[in-house]
């Protein structure tokens, strides 16, 4: 078990190193976050009253976009020079690889979130009318939901055959419940009309179910040739 986490952390460290080769990485992410927010502000009139109603949707679309940018990259790196084969011939089990990738993407999405949230708040003049602290579990659970399935399906899509069928057809319907929950939870908290508890519990259930499913199935997906 301890080697399980040792491998996870080694893989995560390696991925972060590849990602953060330069210290400017954070700067570029900050800039990226700024750009996304600015793009949204141009496209929608952020001073409008209804901005609070659509803010939840906007924020999560922005994060989804960041996640897709990150996820596309995740496995491509392992395919170059067939490095994944080196992992597969080693005695290391499959799940640490999966977890490391998911954590890595989670960190990426979280950094973007941390950078973007203040920007959104300022530009859209947001002030949650409900309990603001609830936004934190929503953010964490929501990002994990995006990332855990995204990582899994991105791994599936390594094998072209399955990618064609799998990616849009599976990922799409599977992610909708999570997305709806995130957006609704955020909107409810921002507008303060209702309790977001139901949505948070739904998200939590979703996360648990899908994390377990991914861990159970990942080895099969990885070893499929």
């Amino acid at each position: 078990m301890s080697s399980f986490w040792a491998i996870t952390s080694a893989t995560l460290a390696k991925d972060l190193r590849l990602e953060w080769r330069s210290k400017d990485a954070i700067n570029s992410m900050l800039f990226f976050a700024l750009l996304v927010v600015v793009i949204f502000s141009f496209s929608f009139d952020p001073t409008a009253e209804e901005s609070r109603h659509i803010a939840g949707g906007l924020v999560w679309v922005a994060f989804l976009f960041a996640a897709v940018v990150a996820l596309n990259q995740t496995w491509a790196r392992e395919m170059r020079n067939a490095v994944l084969d080196a992992y597969r011939v080693s005695p290391a089990p499959a799940n640490p690889l999966f977890l490391a990738k998911a954590f890595g993407n989670f960190i990426f999405v979280s950094i973007i979130q941390a950078l973007m949230t203040p920007l959104f708040t300022v530009f859209y003049n947001l002030r949650p009318l409900g309990p603001a602290w609830q936004l934190i579990p929503v953010a964490i659970l929501g990002s994990w939901a995006l990332v855990v399935n995204g990582t899994f399906f991105a791994a599936m899509s390594l094998h072209t055959r399955s990618r064609e069928i799998m990616l849009p057809i599976l990922l799409f319907p599977f992610s909708i419940p999570a997305l709806v929950a995130m957006v609704q939870a955020t909107n409810t908290i921002l507008t303060g009309q209702d309790s977001a508890k139901f949505w948070i519990v739904l998200l939590l259930t979703y996360d648990v179910v899908f994390t377990v499913a991914c861990l159970l199935l990942f080895e099969t997906v990885l070893d499929a040739e």
Binding site: S22, D24, N27, S28, F31, S41, D45, T47
Partner: protein, 229 residues
């Protein structure tokens, strides 16, 4: 060169001080806005100076693309950096001024927006320079600078098509100004230009120096035998 710098620095400091004095004490108080308006003597000269440097960057980039002269590239970096600093000053003084005058910090007015776009473009230019690998940085950056320069007219000419909250340009636009204020404006502008030029020159020297050091290193590397095969 070494002697010239302190002299120029002192002259610039004096000019800046004089401009400050003129702006704060000599220029008449605005009838409508009161004393807040005095920020204009920083806001507007910074805006003009910023354009001067971005334009320099554009010219230098074109020269680089044609001649592949590394000095042109050094000019381009220095100009972009200094220009970005002045752009930041505009973006900071603008909202500082807008708050008391318009009652808000920021609005998605086309003029403000286009200044923000300008800032973003040159920030991405500098980021590209950081992130590109190997010897092709100057080429890529120069190409990007040309794109930036093309974006600007599109952004700025559309000002005439909009009713904006922001005052119209005095030169070529519909705005007008009191001659005594104009005089102070010109003094501030001269001071800002001198200051900007001084910083730019320093930055340029530094860049050239850096390149010389790299050159020497690489010559040394060529002479020494490789440590292994």
């Amino acid at each position: 060169m070494k002697k010239a710098f302190p002299i120029l620095a002192i002259l610039t400091a004096a000019l800046l001080g004089y401009a400050f004095y003129e702006a704060m004490f000599v220029a008449p108080t605005d009838q409508m806005q009161g004393d807040v308006y005095r920020i204009i003597y920083y806001h507007v000269p910074s805006g003009w100076t910023m354009f001067v440097f971005f334009f320099t960057n554009f010219i230098a980039s074109i020269v680089y693309l044609i001649r592949r002269n590394p000095k042109a590239d050094a000019v381009a970096v220095a100009a972009a950096e200094v220009g970005l600093v002045f752009c930041t000053v505009v973006l900071v003084t603008g909202p500082l001024w807008a708050r008391p005058v318009w009652g808000i910090w920021w609005t998605w007015d086309w003029r403000l927006t286009s200044t923000l776009v300008l800032w973003l473009i040159y920030a991405s230019y500098l980021i590209l320079r950081r992130f590109s690998t190997g010897g092709q940085t100057p080429v890529l950056a120069a190409a990007l600078a040309v794109f930036g320069a093309l974006d600007m007219p599109l952004v700025y000419f559309s000002i005439w098509f909009f009713r904006t909250q922001h005052p119209q340009p005095v030169v070529g636009g519909g705005g007008s100004i009191d001659p005594s204020m104009l005089r102070v404006w010109m003094i501030s502008w001269a001071a800002f230009l001198c200051f900007g030029w001084l910083v730019f020159w320093l930055r340029y020297r530094l860049e050239i120096f850096k390149r010389e050091v790299e050159e020497t290193h690489s010559l040394e590397a060529m002479l020494e035998e490789p440590r292994f095969r």
